[in-house]
Symmetry: C2
């Protein structure tokens, strides 16, 4: 199976699992469930759950990862819904369609985000075929990576506060490491934990996760400059317009591309010793850096 | 120790524990942590964590409950912050002071709510001296009671959709059971689970929790009619103004009071067999029905 075929197979399996794990519009409150599904089933890349599954495979566990992997997509989707709200980034398009609040109104979008965030922890707590102690460690790590201080919400808050102000590299790195990097790194680490990685394997997965998390955000910043609204499925050029802290703003486009390539080398080196079992992780890292959307 | 002294002692212990469990404004992002603390440390009744501790005591466990009990207050406070937002109930005052978004702006209030919700699960996952399997069951139940379908977010969504429409008793009961009742019942049940209640004890705690949850919401509805903004610490008369589904709107004030008294009897009967260990639960039930704020 080529990497492209593997990613397509995983994406489709994750879509089906997300569908199974999300309440339907047949159940009350219908509008809320439609709003959750609107954002969740809009066809994202499913990068985070795919990373979870690939990390679990890399340490030798090939079965049962789909359900807990979906917790990462619930968190990611909730964060997109809340970030897109008028009070935050005020975005009208996401994944190529109108954002949740544009379609369902702000109140429903806020509650749909809350429900997806809550559902993430429920899904992890209800995962099967995993030791309770491992499950607890996974829940704790997911909450830390999605939370404040060095987690996703912390990064989002600092990002908002940095708008329109001079960017320094220390703050830029904090924002990107927390806002995007923490959850991507957690996706890799949680997959490893689920696969009962040794502590040395988990260290290597952490290094890999940190590197691809940084690479992902650098490429995201570059695409916001070079991509189009059509190719991205979200409004291009928003960062410059909102004077966001970005890699191109601080380092220029060319040097930003070198920095992304550097992170890719670090990621590949981190999982070199996994041999063939790490092929998917290496392929995903390359895809992240070469992506155009 | 009288019930009043007990409640005061518990409130003060919970305040100290919430303080310990919440990041400070010394840590980045400072504004977010100030916003979380603004709403969290504004001096609520701490009913839900007190119920957690009292239920644990009722089944014989008197130590260690404070930390996991605080998870309930994190959830409750996040729900108040998000419910008060302009897009939802648009409230300016809560717990006698300006609401989170009035003080810190909408973006920060949304993120502060998200951070408190996330922190609730982190706190449960990091609780000590509890079997991992029990911990998992507690996390699962907290997520269910705070989530959509029959949980808090489901009730809040239906409540919003019911505004200005004719109320029927089936919908009113769904809204109140989900919006307020589910988390109160979960507070009692989680305390019981933490105290390693037998399945029969847990059934009795569930009945008690359902009854006081309903009683709490009936009294809340009555106070919105009879109380003042000053005594309540939040804007009085909002329900009628927003044409909310309430017990007084459907049953009238007098019959609503009878219904609250009926729920109190059910609650007292449910925990009768706990004997002296259930004294605090019985006292709290009476306090809920006789409260004036």
């Amino acid at each position: 199976m080529t990497l492209g075929e593997y990613l397509e197979k995983q994406r489709s399996a994750i879509d089906a699992e997300l569908d199974r794990l999300t309440p339907t519009a047949d159940e009350r409150p219908q509008t809320l469930h439609r709003a959750m599904r609107h954002s969740l089933m809009a066809g994202g890349k499913r990068l985070r759950p795919i990373l979870f599954c690939a990390a679990s495979e890399a340490v030798g566990r090939t079965a049962g990862a789909l359900t807990p992997a979906c917790a990462l997509e619930f968190i990611h989707t909730y964060s997109l819904i809340h970030d897109d709200l008028p009070a935050l980034d005020n975005d009208d398009f996401r994944r190529g369609q109108p954002t949740c609040h544009k379609t369902f109104g702000e109140a429903t979008a806020i509650l749909a985000g809350d429900a997806l965030l809550t559902r993430a922890f429920q899904v992890l707590a209800e995962a099967e075929h995993v030791h309770a102690a491992v499950q607890i460690a996974m829940i704790s790590e997911l909450a830390t990576s999605a939370g404040t201080v060095d987690g996703m919400i912390g990064g989002q808050m600092e990002d908002l506060e940095a708008e329109g102000r001079p960017v320094d590299s220390e703050r830029l790195h904090y924002i990107h490491r927390s806002k995007t990097g923490a959850l991507i790194r957690a996706a890799v680490r949680l997959g490893g934990m689920f696969g009962e990685a040794s502590s040395e394997e988990l260290d290597r997965l952490s290094d890999y996760g940190s590197a691809i998390g940084t690479a992902f955000q650098i490429v995201d910043d570059i695409l916001d400059v070079e991509g189009t609204t059509e190719s991205l499925g979200k409004t291009a050029g928003k960062d410059a317009q909102q004077q966001k802290a970005t890699y191109p703003a601080l380092y220029g486009l060319e040097h930003s591309k070198e920095l992304a390539a550097k992170q890719l080398s670090l990621a590949l080196a981190a999982v070199a010793t996994f041999g063939e079992a790490g092929d998917r992780l290496r392929g995903i890292a390359e895809t992240i850096v070469s992506r155009s959307a």
